[in-house]
Amino acid sequence: MQLYLSLSAYGGVSTREALTIFWNAGIRYVELAIGPRPDTDSAQAVEDFRQQGMVYRAHHAFVCSARHYPFNLAQPQDWKYFERLADYLASIGVTAYSVHGGNFCKTTERVLAYTTFVENIHRLHRVCLTRGIALGVETMYPTLTNSTVENLLDNASELAQFCQDVPQVKIVVDLAHLNIWRDKTEILLNEWLGLPPEKLLEIHISDNDGRQDIHSRITANTWWLSQITNFPKGIPLVLESRLNRLPVSVVQQEYDRIAALTFR
């Protein structure tokens, strides 16, 4: 089981600084993500480390230039952007790209947002497929009641529906997001992790307080830890706990600690 470290784990610095920390911590599997400061050197930094042997996957609105481009797939999209993005991913050897379930304003209808989202995913899947990239969609989580938006795919029944509606697209199970689900159980966890391996793109791991996605570190109390031996073999894990500003030695310890947990 490969353990990737997400760039979101080490934000607030340039891509080159974050990748240097990871490289010096002995990490060779990295998921490109939001977190690093957007800058003109981002793509070059990614390329330089790739040539040294770094292997990448990519997630949602990852940082790859001086301008960050956030997007919400429950809304109409600029497809030229996604074509360029997929070309870029193919050029750096990325074969796995995942996106979030879209979100919608609470004053609008969920069903309309879902329909737009599914149409966009069909199209994004085609864009990725022609470039040899597998597309995954991530399980989301219920937002706080005072939030003005809600996430699609924040519950088991909608996710099941989505799997039926778009069977050709893979699923990214985020165990920290599932911790916020209202209907969270270990049975449910095993159900989602029990999807056919070809249906799972990757598994995202971090921890939180069960209310908000705060990307805390995994502890002995982390809810899914007892189930780790049931995790499907061969599906990459992506560690997303925040390690911002910590020295190389701590990043290395944390990565090695989680690697030891997952490989035991």
């Binding site: 979101s8 934000g11 607030g12 610095v13 939001i34 977190g35 400061r37 957007p38 949602h60 609105a61 960050h68 956030p70 919400n72 979030h100 219920p142 706080l144 009641t145 005072n146 209202r182 307080d209 069960g210 209310r211 908000q212 996605d213 705060i214």
Partner: protein
């Protein structure tokens, strides 16, 4: 076509006239304000210092045992306002978070459990980010001592600025119910109180912390001279 000299010359002459008539008057007014403000600064100094000493005494008292606030009218009013604020209850919170209007009747007042609050600090993060977007974030942290054990309360977000058109703020009720409450409940988990009491204590301590933020934010009152001629336009 009129040449630019004749087009602008009359206007520029008027500007020049205005400048020579009024600039010296404004400069002298500014000088007067600076001199008077300096005199006021000197005169207020001892009162400002005395306030700072009193504020230090208050924050020391909070660090020793913030339950000293339980009998203050300010906390009572704060609780009343909090209870009247439309709830942003998170889905399981509704049944959990409830407190009595009169803090002197709280469980916290009956137990031998000193609550120390200290190290209130605000933070600015120019490179904040969530799962989807970057933002400039403002937050605070503080230390909570339960009995003899000291803990740090996780960073509480106050404001996130996503761009010039969009920002989000966390209401005081949101800070208490969505952030502080969960942290306090977690810190109480190993203490030897029945589960129901822990829930009650968590709600009371969170509210006490929420109110204390107003006190930590207090600064000595100083004389400020606000005047802008632009405001009159």
């Amino acid at each position: 076509m009129a040449d630019s000299n004749s087009l602008f010359s009359l206007y520029e002459e008027l500007v020049q006239d205005h400048s020579s008539q009024f600039d010296p008057q404004i400069a002298s007014l500014q000088e007067l304000v600076i001199t008077r403000m300096q005199a006021i600064r000197d005169a207020e100094q001892s009162l400002v210092e005395a306030q700072a000493i009193e504020l230090k005494r208050i924050t020391d008292a909070l660090a020793h045992d913030a339950r000293c606030l339980l009998s203050t009218p300010g906390l009572r009013t704060f609780v009343q306002e909090l209870k009247q604020t439309k709830s942003n209850n998170w889905y399981t919170r509704q049944s959990e978070f409830s407190i009595a209007e009169d803090p002197t009747t709280w469980l916290l007042a009956m137990l031998k459990l000193p609550i120390g609050l200290s190290n209130y600090q605000t933070h600015e993060d120019l490179n904040g980010y969530d799962d989807e977007r970057n933002f400039i974030g403002y937050s605070y942290t503080l230390s909570l001592k339960l009995g003899s054990v000291e803990h740090s309360i996780n960073e509480i977000p106050l404001k996130r600025i996503y761009n010039v058109n969009e920002c989000s703020e966390t209401s005081i009720k949101g800070q208490i119910e969505d952030y502080i409450y969960g942290d306090v409940k977690y810190l109480l988990r190993d203490m030897e109180y029945p589960e129901e009491q822990k829930q009650q204590l968590a709600a009371e301590i969170s509210t006490l912390i929420g109110y204390s933020l107003k006190i930590f934010a207090l600064k000595p009152r100083r004389a400020i001279f606000n005047y802008s001629s632009i405001e009159e336009d």
